[in-house]
C-alpha cells in the first residue's frame, strides 16, 4: 500500500471551527460533515484506497470557490478538488486533514455557440452532457472516455483524459479552448477563450493534466465538432499478437489514421464475449477493431484498404459492420471490457502505460512471464493506434496478500513500459497509484523542475498534496539557486 503524508493533528483538532467558517461562505447543505454523508467521498475509482476527508464543501459559484481557497490558504488547510470521483489513479482520494472541494453543483452549460463552434460549461457538467447538448444540431465533443456518462469536464481537464477516438481527434488538451480557474490564493484568472492559442506562457496547456495540484477549474470552453457523416468498423481476428501489431503499424504507415483502433488479447476477448455476446472470434489470440469515420465515399475506400492490409497480415477472420447496429455490437464487447473482467474476478486494477507500438509483442510476452511469477491473471485492452496499453490485473482482495501482489505486478508492468521506451500513464494520470514510480521515468532534477512549476501556482503545497510527486520539497528549498563559481569546465566551447 502507498503511504499518504502524515495528517496534521492540529488541523484535525480545529475541524468544528473550520466547518463553521466554511458554512459562513457556503451556507446550509453546502458543507458536509457527518461520517454517513461523507462516505460517498471517501474513495474514487481506485477503490483499494479509502480515506475520510476532514470535511466536504460544495460551492456553487466561482466567488465561493475563491473565498474557500483564500480561507484555506490563510489557514494552511489542504484542499482536494473533486469532480465525479471516477479517477482510476486516486487523484481525488481525500486527505484526513484536507477539505474535499466538490464541484458537483457546477452543473450548468453556460453557452452554446455553433458559429464559433464551442461550448462553455461549468466544470461539474459530465463529458457526455456536452455532446448531448449539441447533438441535435449534428455536433459532438470529441474526447470520449469510457466513463463519459459519469466523469466531469473539470475532471477531464485535470486528468487530460482521452478515449477511443483520441488518435484522430486528440486528448482533452487538444480540444479545450479556455478555462476560468481559481488559484489557492483565491485569485480568479482566465486562460484562453473562444479564440485559438493564447499568448504568453501556455498555462492552459499546463493546467490540463495537472491532476488538481495547480488550481480549481470553475469554467470550461471546449470546441465541438460536426459529427462525421458515417462510421463503420472492421472486426479482425489474428492468430498472434505479432500479426495484429504488424497490421496496426501497416495501417498507419499506409497513411490511414482511423477514428478508433482497439486491440484485445485472448483473455479480454473471452471475458467480453461471455458477457455481451458480440460475436467475437474465440479462436483468435488478438482482436482488432478498426473504425473508419467520415463521408461514406471515404469510409468505403478506407475499409477496403484496411481489409487488404489485414489479409496481408494473416487475419483469421474479418467482419465489416453493415449497419449502425452492427457497428455498435462490435464495440459493445470492447466498451464493456472492464465490467466483463469484473464478472470473472472479484477485483481488478486497470493499468495504463504507453509503449512504442512496435514493442507490443515483446511487452506482452514479458507481461505473461510476470503473470506467472505473481500467480495473477491479466487481460489486455489496448488503444492500439497510440500505443496506450490497459492491462487489467485480476485479483481477490479477500485473499490476504493478493492486493499487494497485484500492485507489485502492476508496478512491474509499468516498469516494462518505461524500459520499452514508453511512459507510466497514457491517460489515467499519476495520482497516488503511480506516484512512487515517477523516478522510473524522471531524474530528481526532472522532478524538482516539475515541482517548481507547482510552487509558482501553490507555494505552500496545499492543493492535492501527496499526489503525483513521490517526495515533497519545500518551495523555498527548490527555489534556491546554486551558483557555480570559478573555472568554466569547458573553456574550449567555441565562441565567435
Amino acid at each position: 500500500m502507498l503511504m499518504m503524508p502524515q495528517p496534521d493533528a492540529e488541523t484535525i483538532a480545529r475541524r468544528a471551527e473550520i466547518a463553521a467558517d466554511l458554512r459562513a461562505i457556503v451556507p446550509g447543505e453546502g458543507v458536509i460533515e457527518t461520517p454517513v454523508e461523507m462516505r460517498a467521498y471517501e474513495t474514487d475509482a481506485l477503490t483499494a484506497y479509502r480515506q475520510m476527508p476532514l470535511l466536504v464543501v460544495l460551492p456553487q459559484t466561482t466567488g465561493q470557490v475563491s473565498r474557500i481557497l483564500r480561507y484555506a490558504h490563510e489557514k494552511s488547510i489542504k484542499v482536494v478538488p473533486r469532480g465525479a470521483g471516477t479517477s482510476l489513479s486516486g487523484g481525488a482520494l481525500p486527505l484526513a486533514d484536507g477539505i474535499i472541494l466538490g464541484l458537483g453543483k457546477f452543473n450548468r452549460i453556460l453557452d452554446i455557440d455553433y458559429e464559433n463552434r464551442c461550448v462553455t460549461a461549468q466544470p461539474g457538467v459530465t463529458n457526455l452532457a456536452i455532446t448531448q447538448a449539441v447533438q441535435h444540431r449534428g455536433f459532438y465533443y470529441a474526447p470520449d472516455p469510457s466513463s463519459q456518462i459519469a466523469c466531469t469536464i473539470g475532471g477531464n481537464i485535470a486528468e487530460n483524459s482521452g478515449g477511443v477516438h483520441c488518435l484522430k481527434y486528440g486528448l482533452t488538451t487538444n480540444n479545450v479552448l479556455g478555462i476560468e480557474m481559481v488559484l489557492i490564493t483565491g485569485e480568479v484568472i482566465r486562460l484562453g477563450g473562444k479564440h485559438l492559442d493564447s499568448e504568453g506562457y501556455d498555462l492552459l496547456g499546463v493546467m490540463t493534466g495537472s491532476e488538481g495540484l495547480l488550481g480549481v477549474v470553475t469554467e470550461v470552453t471546449v470546441r465541438i465538432l460536426a459529427k462525421p457523416e458515417t462510421a463503420r468498423a472492421v472486426l479482425v481476428g489474428f492468430p498472434t499478437n505479432e500479426d495484429a501489431g504488424r497490421c496496426v503499424a501497416e495501417i498507419i504507415s499506409a497513411g490511414i489514421i482511423p477514428g478508433g483502433m482497439e486491440m484485445m488479447d485472448r483473455p479480454a476477448i473471452h471475458a467480453a464475449e461471455d458477457f455481451v455476446h458480440a460475436g467475437y472470434p474465440l479462436d483468435a489470440e488478438a482482436l482488432l477493431i478498426v473504425e473508419l469515420d467520415g463521408p461514406r465515399a471515404e469510409v468505403d475506400h478506407l475499409i477496403a484498404r484496411v481489409s487488404e492490409i489485414a489479409a496481408r497480415n494473416r487475419s483469421q477472420s474479418l467482419r465489416i459492420s453493415n449497419s449502425e447496429d452492427e457497428r455498435l455490437v462490435f464495440w459493445a464487447g470492447r466498451k464493456a471490457a472492464f465490467p466483463a473482467v469484473g464478472r470473472i474476478s472479484p477485483d481488478y486494477i486497470c493499468m495504463d502505460g504507453t509503449i512504442p507500438r512496435k514493442k507490443l509483442p515483446e511487452v506482452l510476452r514479458d507481461m505473461a512471464e510476470l503473470s506467472r511469477k505473481y500467480g495473477l491473471r491479466v487481460a489486455n485492452v489496448f488503444h492500439a493506434g497510440d500505443g496506450n496499453l490497459h492491462p487489467l490485473i485480476l485479483f481477490d482482495a479477500n485473499n490476504a496478500d493478493e492486493l499487494d501482489r497485484a500492485e507489485k505486478f502492476g508496478a512491474d508492468i509499468l516498469r516494462l513500459c518505461v524500459k520499452a521506451g514508453g511512459v507510466l500513464t497514457g491517460e489515467h494520470g499519476v495520482g497516488i497509484e503511480k506516484r512512487d514510480l515517477m523516478p522510473e521515468m524522471f531524474s530528481e532534477i526532472d522532478l524538482n523542475q516539475q515541482q517548481r512549476l507547482k510552487c509558482a501556482f501553490d507555494s505552500q503545497g496545499l492543493l492535492n498534496p501527496g499526489k503525483v510527486f513521490p517526495v515533497l520539497h519545500r518551495c523555498a528549498e527548490l527555489g534556491r539557486l546554486h551558483v557555480h563559481k570559478g573555472q568554466l569546465p569547458f573553456p574550449e566551447i567555441p565562441r565567435f
Binding site: 458559429e115 464559433n116 487530460n160 483520441c166 486528440g170 486528448l171 488538451t173 487538444n174 484568472i189 482566465r190 486562460l191 477563450g193 473562444k194 479564440h195 485559438l196 492559442d197 493564447s198 499568448e199 504568453g200 506562457y201 501556455d202 496547456g205 499546463v206 490540463t208 493534466g209 497513411g255 463521408p295 465515399a297 475506400h301 478506407l302 504507453t354 509503449i355 512496435k358 488503444h383 497510440d386 500505443g387 511512459v423 500513464t425 491517460e427 494520470g429 503511480k434 522532478l447 523542475q449 516539475q450 517548481r452 512549476l453 510552487c455 509558482a456 501556482f457 503525483v468 527555489g479 539557486l481 557555480h484 568554466l488 569546465p489 569547458f490 566551447i493 567555441p494 565562441r495 565567435f496
Partner: protein
Amino acid sequence: MPQSTFAPTSEAELESVVRGAIAAKTPLEVTGRNSKATLGRPVQAAATLSLSGFSRITSYEPEELVLTAGAGTPRSEVEPLLAARGQCFAFEPPDYSRLLGVGDAGSLGGMIGCNLAGPRRIKAGAARDHFLGFTGVSGRGEIYQAGGKVVKNVTGYDLPKLLAGSYGTLTALTSVTIKVLPAPESEDTLILEGLDDATAIRAMSLALQSPFEVSGAAHLPATINAGIAETLLRLEGVPPSVAYRRDRLAALLAEFGICRSHPADESRARWIAVRDVHPFAGDQSRIIWRLSVPPMEGARITAAIADRADAQWFYDWGGGLIWLSLPSSDDGGAQLVRGAANSGHATLIRAPQDVRAAVPVFTPQPTALEELSRRVKAGFDPAGILNPGRMYQGW
C-alpha cells in the same frame, strides 16, 4: 548588440555556458538559426547562445508517428525527410522568412518556441499540440527532460506545452520529440468570389460547421487580392472523399454565389501564400500584426481598425486569425489594434526594433495572470539569464 556567441555542441557544454552566465550575471540571447530574431521584443544580452549545434536527427519512426531531433535542426532538413515517407507536421508550420525578410525557415526549436501553426490549425492544432517531449538546460543551469517519446502521455505536468510558445525564455532546448502524421493524399480548394468580410466569415462558419472536414478557411479581401475578394475553403484526404466533399460543400454554400475549384497544384500554392503571409511580404516598411480572435468577431474588429487607419488585412482560421498591415507609426498602432481586439489577443509580428522595444509585443496580461507567469519564469530561470525581456518588458 551581443558581443560573443556561444555555440555548444553537447548538453554538458551548454550546461556550463548557462552556469557561467548565471555566475557572471550576464544574460544570454537564445537562438536557433536566428530566423525569428525579430519576433518578440529585442533582448538585452551580453552574449548569444546558439543552439544550432544541436542539429542531429536522432530517430524518425514513421509507423510510430514520432520524430526526435536536435532543437537546432533546420526545418529544411526535416520536412523533406518526412515528405519522402508521406508524412508531415500536421500543424502546417509557416515559413515567415519572406514576411520577416530573413534567409530561412528556421529550426525545430524555433518552430516550437514560437508555437507556429498554419491554416490547418483549425483542424489539427498548433505546434503545442504535437510537441511530445524534450531535453534542455533550464535557466538554473540544469539538464532536465520532460514529456516522453510516445504519442500519448500524461505522466507529470505537460511541460512541453509550457515550453511551446515560450520564446526561449524558460529553457534552452537541445532535443525535441514531435508527433508526425500522414500527409493528405490530395487536396482541392473551393473559391467563393466577391463576398464582403462579414458574409465571407458567415460562409466559412457554415463550411466549418458542416461534416465535410474543411482543413483551411481563409478570406482575402479585394484590396489585397488584385481587386477581387476570394474566400478559400480547402478539402484534403483520399481522392474519392475530397471530390465528394467538394461537391457537397459547393451545394451547401450555393447561396453565396458560384463556386470555382482549384486543382491540387494551384491549391497548394494558394495555401502556402496564406500560411506564409505572402500578401504582406512585399513592403517591409509596414507594420504587421497577428490577431487571434473568436472567428465571428473578425469582421467587426477589422472594420473598427480600418475606420481609423490605412489598414490592409486578410483572414485565416475561418475568421479567427487576422493578419493586419498598418503604415509605420510610433506605437505601431498598438492602441488602436488592442482597443479593437478586446477578446482574443494581438501580437506585433513585424516592426522596427525601437517600436518593438517601446510597445508591448504581446498583449499585456491582467495582474494576477502576469504575476503567475512571472513566478513560472522564476521557477525555470530565477536569475533572468535566458532571453530576458523577449516577451515582456522587465522580465
